[in-house]
Symmetry: C2
Subunit: 551 residues, 2 copies
């Protein structure tokens, strides 16, 4: 069995028709859901690209692997999905985005070159790279945001788009009425068609690369593979080529999920985020009316390209031995809760789509069902290891395999989900005067109550999703829910004490160590020697060494 | 300035005359204390050889580096004292024991050979190896406890001691009345003289190696160095050569610090330890009467050899530019609290001697003083980095530099010390039926109250060292001290949430990142473009690209 682990960037859990979106039809997502299980309570371990992805790729919490935010390198030697899968005989490939920053200093210290196979895997999150393109080719006076080579930009140049950065100037820009380039960075341009042929835009381009990969691997007939197909879209810049640019309009834009009460004495971090530039932009109706239709168009394009991929699998008879996983690294506020982008722990940001099709007959009982268990993004890595026939290294991987759910079983399961957010590098930390080490947030959600804890002496937030599913009323402002808050803090405490770094000894290794030292001659407990098991006595005081003297 | 970082293994804090021992005179320890500062509340981060040492060598808590017990490998890539010091221009050398187990699997995964300089440092805790000898050359039916080559055993063989393992058969064994080898593993033999010439025994041998090192480095005139001189003694086997074997006798053995109340419904882990073989041995008066005089003899020999080293430094005019640190990796119960060895958090086990002589004039105000601040063993690494003139990497090193105390200042300081213990590989975990991941203990000590928390649903322990300095009365058995227990649990919770793995980004790096992405063309917040600072506008919408079309 192969695994297609498909990630969309910044795809909200509820912008799919199978998740109940009233206007957006995503028949191909729905088709996979109908063949598999849709997890309706899947949470990422950090609602930001880099941090979230490192959790997916390591199967570990953000504070366990330490690469907690965009551009924070993943420390050299950290185990990744690729390490675990290769041990189980499955290759691990990357097609698209990871947002991985290599630990260049650590690699240099260990003498690892990114040119070597080992070094390249360290530099690429443990994946072998089919193609890597992180899809953010911004350029400014300090240079490129991302200094790697962009295969996508090279592709566009090869197709004749005349620019040093056609990603910015064509694929993510339209043309204004005067005929000038109208950047997709600017929200007022979001309703324009991106100035790129649809088949040359990012999602079709990566889909083509994926199909090429599948075909080549099939032709090679090599080991089973897991391919991480990782699309940049529907992530900003919010602009999409025709015909998707005008499929949706103002009448498809829902009212924002927000309430005046949220702006009354908000928890300080929430308050600071409500004042940032993307939030104030999304607080404007004009912005939402322009951007949300473009966001929907981008998703519609993703769905169509997913259809292309499914068709190809069917045409090549590979649906029967390909596990398909559809998910995202985080959501998008789109103006809900007075916010834009992601970062905090409201459902719009921290909950993601999670649809898994398992082709095996064991999964037949669960096809087309939904599962509302508290799933964490770190559960995928152990799920894949099990699918590859491997043994889950529970001393390293902190997630739990979803395999029982895929078979329609009801295993004992976690009672709360955890997410973390490190905002140390953001303007919000500056605004609040918070030192980098204190600019950290934790979420504990037990299926009903959701606590946000903030370091640095700031007060927490609490929502009751049963009575307040829209998360407007911060119950931590009063004493009424002290017992619930205490209970969630107890959960956080238990979690914080977890065993996360004993990565060089498995539970089985440790059990095998027990009591072995005596059989290697370490006997620090002998009063008179009679305590030594008979089998060992000859070694310690049966030898005739009378003839040895020291002087 | 050079640094001599001298560690004795299993040396109790109170078995020195400067610490008030009534019978044991240690004039050379006292001399260093008179020249420097003696820290009277120094705690190790894990009271077991391997775990404690990895904390010293990394400057990080046991659950941060993960090598929590003997034989648990230190993960490849973990930063060590040597890494930090080399960055500051100081070499880092090992002379003696580390109890380091290399992460062979991790090194292989990264293609690192222990033969290379980089690989050797990874395999040796970041030290360059002058000589390594862990001093535990037990041998049994499953082979050697330690499979490395023993330079000390080779030395003894070269001196003509006729055995494959003269460490066991001579240096750590006496001769009984029948003329047979009498193993030092057996406590009843502890009063015999070890069957080795005194100058060939372990402590003088390593002292000689250290003097050779100092002389060679002086001759070379190379970079300043930190040398970790790490003696195996007074660690068991408890046996010492003449004349030390009969310097002390029964009349020098104090009554055990223990109380019947400790055996009444003890906390389960404490209870299990009281039943293990070393504890039941030390519960016998005969054992204490034999062993403690030998333990004192071993310490007396350490003191004499320290004198030899000090004399050599003086004779070669190096006292003026050598920092000297005297400490231990943990203590020894010696029958106190009904226990033997170490492992738990009573003062006898978790508190260590910590004496620092700083030759610089800045340290003059503090010479000959004591300091009762809560010091942790992880404080040494940052102290050394500062002494080397480096900048302390506070995102990696979790300890705090002791430099202000050495200058006689009174800095703001931690309010509690933490220690941890992982007993997952021990018979006590088997006895209690505890899974490896739950076999973990935590100590929080705030200078008065000491809490022991046990995972696995076991109850805590609490001692009030002000009213009960001998730690007999477990206050967690009743509700009387709930407020104190809650307060210490709050401390533990704060500590458990600490930032410990964000090792690839310093606080300064993060501050420098703030707000940089716009200057690299990432602009995800523009409603209409007017938000762009004027200096940047030309880049995003001033370009005349009207003549570019995509179709």
């Amino acid at each position: 069995m192969n695994i297609l682990f498909i990630m969309y960037d910044q795809l909200r859990f509820d912008y799919l028709s199978c998740a109940g979106h009233p206007h957006l039809q995503t028949p191909n997502f729905d088709k996979v859901a109908a063949m598999g299980v849709r997890f309706t309570n899947a949470y990422v371990q950090s609602p930001v690209c880099g941090g979230s992805r490192m959790c997916y790729y390591t199967g570990r919490y953000a504070s366990s692997h330490g690469a907690q935010w965009n551009g924070f390198p993943l420390r050299v030697g950290e185990h990744t999905m690729g390490d675990h899968l290769r041990k189980a005989g499955m290759d691990s490939w990357l097609i698209g985005k990871t947002h991985m920053r290599a630990d260049a200093e650590g690699m240099e210290r260990l003498g690892l070159s990114a040119d070597s196979v080992i070094g390249a895997r360290q530099a690429e999150c443990g994946f072998d790279t089919w193609i890597r393109d992180d899809g953010l080719w911004g350029y400014g006076p300090d240079g490129f945001y991302d200094e790697k080579r962009s295969p996508y930009n090279e592709y566009l140049k090869g197709k004749g788009y005349p620019s040093e950065n056609p990603w910015a100037d064509f694929a993510n820009a339209g043309i204004d009425d005067a005929g000038d380039m109208a950047s997709g960075w600017i929200f007022k341009n979001a309703d324009k068609a991106a100035n790129v042929r649809e088949e040359d835009s990012e999602t079709p381009w990566l889909t083509t690369k994926t199909i090429e990969f599948i075909d080549e691997k099939k032709a090679e007939g090599t080991a089973p593979w897991m391919a991480h197909v990782s699309f940049i879209k529907p992530h900003w810049p919010y602009i999409v080529p025709a015909p998707y640019h005008n499929m949706f309009g103002e009448n498809h834009v829902p009212a924002p999920t927000r309430h005046e009460v949220e702006r009354e004495d908000p928890q300080p971090v929430f308050g600071a985020y409500m004042q940032n530039k993307i939030a104030t932009a999304f607080q404007q109706d004009e912005v939402r009316k322009k951007v949300i239709p473009a966001y929907m168009g981008l998703i519609k394009q993703c769905d169509d390209q997913l259809g292309r991929l499914l068709d190809h699998l069917e045409a090549t008879d590979q649906m029967k031995d390909t596990m398909i996983v559809l998910t995202s690294d985080h959501g998008d506020y789109l103006g809900d809760h007075w916010l834009g982008e992601k970062d905090l722990f409201h459902e719009q940001s921290v909950k993601v789509p999670m649809i898994i099709y398992d082709p095996r007959a064991t999964a037949d009982p669960a096809r087309g069902t939904t599962c509302d268990a508290l799933v964490e993004s770190i559960d995928l890595a152990p799920t894949f290891v099990e699918a590859a026939g491997g043994k889950v290294a529970g001393h390293i991987l902190e997630g739990r395999s979803l395999s029982p759910w895929l078979r329609g079983e009801t295993p004992d399961w976690r009672e709360y989900a955890i997410s973390e957010y490190d905002y140390s590098a953001t303007p919000q930390a500056v605004r609040l005067g918070i030192e980098p080490r204190d600019a950290r947030l934790f979420m504990v959600f037990n299926g009903r109550y959701k606590l946000m804890h903030a370091e640095g002496g700031l007060r927490p937030m609490l929502f009751d999703l049963q009575t307040d599913p829209e998360e407007f009323f911060d119950l931590a402002k009063s004493d009424t829910h002290k017992a619930e808050i205490d209970r969630l803090y107890d959960n956080l405490f238990t979690w914080a004490r977890r065993m996360s770094q004993r990565v060089t000894k498995s539970e089985d290794d440790i059990k095998a160590m027990r009591g072995r030292s005596m059989r290697r001659g370490i006997l620090p407990f002998l009063a008179d020697g009679t305590e030594v098991p008979e089998e060992l006595t000859a070694l310690y005081y049966g030898k005739a060494q009378a003839d040895y003297t020291s002087d």
